[in-house]
């Protein structure tokens, strides 16, 4: 892909590359719309200064309502749903001159870690392990693969428990989860309302910051956004490490970093983070899936049914995929009988948040791997048990639970030749600090070189 702002010719080439790609990153394109937007952008530039994202091709995870486009959540439930309205964050992109390249693949409703739970089939990692089809990570697998393969300048994803960061780490690019509530969720199909964040995937920390600058900020249509000004994220990407006190936990990977850090042990805090996250996100997912019943929109069963209850069961069982059903049932269990289990996880969440608040009073940011392993082959994903897959998120869920900031940047290649990612994490509203450290780390890391470990 031609770097930066596209011309009509380069855009046509890009569209052609998208068509011929076998990564299965894109699940919907509308070349006429793309070209029309580019032409509009060129017209605009004839008498105006270029806007923040002028002419830049951006792929959109298929959880975002883009008006007039199929918005499927990669589920049979919404296979034929065409969004009648635009999400706030995508509208902000188009208002700054960005060009829509298409909708990209994901785990249905954002539930998954390897983009294997999609009616469109899995997305392939552009980098393969042992030459075999390899996981691009999830749930924003399509977003990551598109950017990593040069099929988009950047992509929007969503991050609920690591869904932007894990695929970014697996494909060797940058993935950002901002503070919860910084970016509006209006028009974003909900997975877990207290955890979902629109997120950004791009090739560099600065590119990520450029997109974040455009989409972030108060939206009166999302009651969880903040009515306060947004800092200058792009300016924070100086590449210079300031006097931040940086904590580092290698999570057993023994990876060494080329910047000064304080070694910490956060096992006690992380110990119950995964089950806490799973229970909360499943309970919220269960509730968010209640509206999918085919009555007003979406899939309706074609089989005969005896009564209303039967109709609901048939429609929802046929429309939802296996993983969605597992989450719904898990969530229902946590909420049944007076929601005792959910309540306990809710308390655990506050406990973790209190511990992390104390932690960040001492340290400015925390660095830890995005995952302790690199992308597996799709075959080995098939043989993983469900809870093995859930544990892929071990390093990412804590920052989600506290509503904090986390960015994954490529840290190098492991022994199998697969990229790995390292996260810079901070408390809510610490984007500036996190971007400063991340851009500084990015400067001194060579992402295509082998990772250095402690015993070497």
């Amino acid at each position: 892909m031609k770097p930066g702002k596209q011309s009509a010719q380069s855009m046509l080439q890009l569209l052609s590359d998208i068509q011929s790609s076998d990564l299965n990153a894109y699940i919907y394109t509308d070349p006429n719309k793309t070209i029309a937007m580019l032409q509009e952008s060129e017209r605009y530039c004839q008498s105006n200064k270029p806007r923040a994202l002028e002419g830049l091709p951006i792929a959109i995870k298929d959880l975002f309502c883009v008006k007039g486009t199929p918005t499927t959540a990669a589920s049979k439930m919404l296979k034929d749903f065409i969004a009648p309205y635009e999400s706030t964050v995508t509208q902000r992109l188009w208002d700054q001159g960005a060009i829509f390249t298409g909708k990209v693949n994901l785990d249905a409703f954002g539930m998954g870690s390897h983009n294997t739970y999609s009616i469109f089939g899995p997305t392939l990692n552009p980098i393969s392990r042992d030459g075999k089809p390899t996981s691009a990570g999830g749930s924003s697998g399509g977003s990551a693969a598109a950017v990593a393969a040069g099929l988009a300048w950047a992509a929007l994803g969503t991050d609920t428990g690591g869904s932007c960061r894990l695929p970014a780490a697996f494909t060797g690019i940058v993935g950002l989860k901002p503070t919860y509530g910084l970016c509006s969720r209006y028009g974003v199909i909900a997975h877990a309302s207290s955890l979902d964040c629109p997120g950004v995937l791009a090739n560099s920390v600065k590119d990520t910051a450029r997109v974040l600058q455009v989409i972030a900020g108060y939206d009166e249509r999302d009651a969880q956004t903040f009515d306060q000004p947004v800092p200058d994220f792009v300016a924070a990407c100086t590449g210079e490490l300031r006097n931040h006190k940086i904590a580092y936990c290698d999570m057993g990977t023994e990876i060494t970093l080329p910047i000064p850090t304080h070694s910490v042990d956060i096992d006690a805090i992380l110990e119950h983070a995964v089950e806490c996250y799973m229970i909360i996100s499943a309970a919220e997912a269960c509730s968010n899936m209640s509206r999918y019943d085919g009555i007003r929109y979406g899939y309706r069963t074609e089989s005969a049914y005896t009564n209303l209850k039967d109709y609901y069961c048939k429609t929802r069982s046929e429309g939802f995929g296996d993983e969605t059903k597992r989450r719904i049932l898990l969530g229902a269990y946590a909420l049944s009988d007076g929601s005792k289990i959910f309540h306990r996880a809710n308390q655990m969440r506050q406990w973790i948040a209190d511990k992390m608040t104390k932690f960040f009073a001492e340290y400015d940011v925390l660095i830890l791997p995005t995952a302790t392993f690199s992308a597996p082959t799709l075959d080995s994903v098939k043989s993983m048990s469900c809870d093995e897959i859930y544990n892929s998120d071990k390093c990412t869920v804590t920052s989600s639970l506290i509503g904090g900031v986390a960015i994954s940047i490529p840290i190098g290649i492991d022994d199998s030749g697969m990229p790995m990612g390292m996260q810079v994490v901070g408390p809510p509203f610490s984007e500036v600090k996190v971007l400063e450290v991340a851009s500084a780390l990015e400067q001194v890391i060579e992402r295509n070189k082998k990772i250095t470990r402690r015993d070497q």
Partner: protein
């Protein structure tokens, strides 16, 4: 298997997917075990969200969009949404 069947009825899912049921049963036991292992005070406060200025919506009404039904609903009649009939009181006896 019984508890999963009961949950299926509550959330509107068919209870004939044995494989998923087995998976859920396993996951549930593991997760529940783990969350109760934690040494957590029974009265510990709950998470209330990220704090910050979040004003309430002003009471200004806007016109609805009557075209929404036509745009998204495939089962409508004169702008009513059509739903399968539920039991009526008469049918109950």
């Amino acid at each position: 298997m019984n508890r999963v069947t009961k949950l299926c009825a509550i959330v509107g899912l068919s209870d004939n997917d044995a494989k998923i049921h087995a998976q859920i049963d396993k996951i549930v036991d593991v997760l529940i075990d783990k969350i109760y292992q934690a040494d957590l005070d029974a009265e510990y406060p709950i998470w209330l969200g990220v704090k910050g200025p979040k004003p309430l919506r002003k009471d200004i009404s806007k016109e609805g969009d009557p075209t929404l039904i036509a745009q998204v609903c495939k089962h409508s009649h004169e702008n009513f949404v059509l739903a399968p009939k539920s039991f009526t009181a008469k049918e109950n006896k």
